[in-house]
């Protein structure tokens, strides 16, 4: 518990640092209000670059995530997009996934040390982002070419919905009925990924769309419920150990509460495939970012020879790409909102 008071001695909260956290908070909020997750992955390394110790950065980041998710999910609930029951089921299974994820992390840490653990995180990050992000992106491109206004339910999800395997669960808002045995692995994987790369939504949202059969709107909105439940539990855990720097949390929250509501409003402006476009784009750019971080860990494990100066450049490039992923996501969201507003403007004038 003394760690934070020691740490705060060298955290300089100058206007530039405050401005950086506020802006990243706003953009991260905008993205997560729209796609249900994302944004937080830039904040942890961002805070660390300001001199905040890793654990305090992770704890303070998580402590801003759950109130942001709460505000975002309330907003999207009002638009009829949140399935609370689905979110609570997913969160419960994700909770189990988090515990298993932590056990795997500890096992790898004991076996190969910090560099091995970092490499495991980076490899999982790149693999999930390339495979799932690529799939989401391909589907988004296909959906954008599709002339019909409503989203098509994936054939895999339709097939799974037909299997009557007790216990079957009804989700009224998401308009689906599916066996708990298909829900469980999706929730579990969300938690496992959250414990590994801290962005469980990158599995949770596509999982709800392609395996369970929820629409992009419902999946992204419901992800906010999962993020709230898991974020609250995680924050209490970190705060019990005295790791939350409330000043950092509140600065990020100042920006993210503005962003998350704008992102939620944005979902009502755009065509449904836009959620997939934004999610796929961010995932693929972040994959490139994590790719840049890998040589450092490979060098530490003695699997590759890289000079320190190259590692420093690659680290900067990695962080820059993460920031780029958020900015690109925000530009697509804001751009499609403006387009959506313009398209609706003539109707508004006629009325």
């Amino acid at each position: 518990m003394d760690m934070l008071s020691e740490a705060t001695k060298f955290i300089t909260l100058d206007p530039a640092g405050i401005g950086f956290l506020f802006i990243v908070g706003f953009i991260g909020g905008l993205v997560s209000g729209f796609i249900g997750s994302g944004g937080a992955f830039v904040l942890t390394p961002g805070m660390m670059s300001l001199g905040v110790p890793g654990t305090v950065a992770v704890a303070s980041n998580m402590c801003h995530k759950f109130p942001k998710a709460l505000v975002g999910s309330i907003k999207r609930y009002r638009y009829g997009q949140v399935d609370i029951k689905l979110g609570l089921y997913m969160a419960a299974f994700a909770g189990v996934g988090v515990q298993v994820g932590i056990k795997i992390q500890n096992y790898i840490l004991g076996l190969w040390g910090q560099a091995g653990s970092d490499l495991y995180v980076s490899v999982s990050f790149v693999a999930v982002l390339v495979i799932v992000g690529g799939f989401v992106m391909l589907d988004a491109i296909k959906s954008s070419k599709n002339s019909c206004a409503t989203e098509q339910t994936c054939s895999l999800a339709l097939r799974l919905q037909k299997i009557e395997l007790w216990p079957m669960i009804n989700f009224k808002r998401a308009n689906l009925r599916i066996s708990m045995w298909f829900l469980l692995p999706v929730g579990f994987a969300t938690g496992l990924l959250a414990a590994t790369i801290a962005v469980g939504g990158f599995i949770g949202v596509p999982g709800m769309i392609y395996i369970l059969g929820a629409s992009g709107l419902v999946a992204s909105a419901t992800e906010l419920v999962i993020a709230f439940v898991m974020g609250l539990a995680g924050s209490i855990n970190w705060a019990m150990h005295g790791m939350v720097d409330i000043r950092l949390t509140l600065i990020i929250l100042a920006g993210s509460l503005l962003g998350v509501q704008l992102g939620a409003i944005g979902t009502t402006f755009v065509r449904e495939h836009m959620i997939k476009v934004v999610m796929g784009t961010i995932m693929l750019i972040v994959a490139v970012s994590r790719g840049f971080a890998m040589p450092k860990y490979l060098a530490k494990l003695g699997l590759m020879e890289v000079s320190d100066s190259t590692v420093a450049i690659l680290e900067k490039a990695s962080f820059a790409f993460m920031v780029v992923s958020l900015v690109v996501g925000a530009v697509i969201i804001l751009g499609s909102m403006v387009k959506g507003r313009k398209a609706l403007a003539p109707q508004g004038q006629e009325a």
């Binding site: 942001k68 709460l70 924050s235 005295g242 000043r247 509140l250």
Partner: protein, 99 residues
């Protein structure tokens, strides 16, 4: 062009003052907060309660700000857009009474 409905300026100002007040209080009492909020144990309630309070006051301010700026939801989202699988016929044998 006239506004379609009145904008909640009063609400924006009230929650804006509340939000600024909270942030000023945190800034002014930084040392006291840093001494007590990171003690762990039962003190865990302090940071958790604080973020809930900020998300209510600052969150309402933020939502009202977008409303006043004219950025509001344009349609009720079609949440029920998915096509669910057709209901399966119950093929289990049933006891019937033939009288």
């Amino acid at each position: 062009m006239e506004a379609r409905k009145s904008k909640p300026i009063g609400k924006l100002v009230a929650y804006g003052i509340g939000s600024v007040g909270l942030y000023t209080a945190v800034y002014l009492c930084q040392d006291l907060i840093m001494d007590n909020f990171a003690k762990g144990g039962l003190y865990t309630a302090l940071p958790i309660a604080t973020v809930f309070l900020f998300s209510w006051i600052h969150g309402t301010f933020a939502g009202t700000l977008w409303q006043v700026l004219g950025i509001d939801a344009v349609k009720k989202a079609p949440a029920q857009a998915t096509v669910s699988a057709p209901a399966r016929k119950d093929s289990r044998p049933r006891a019937t009474v033939s009288a």
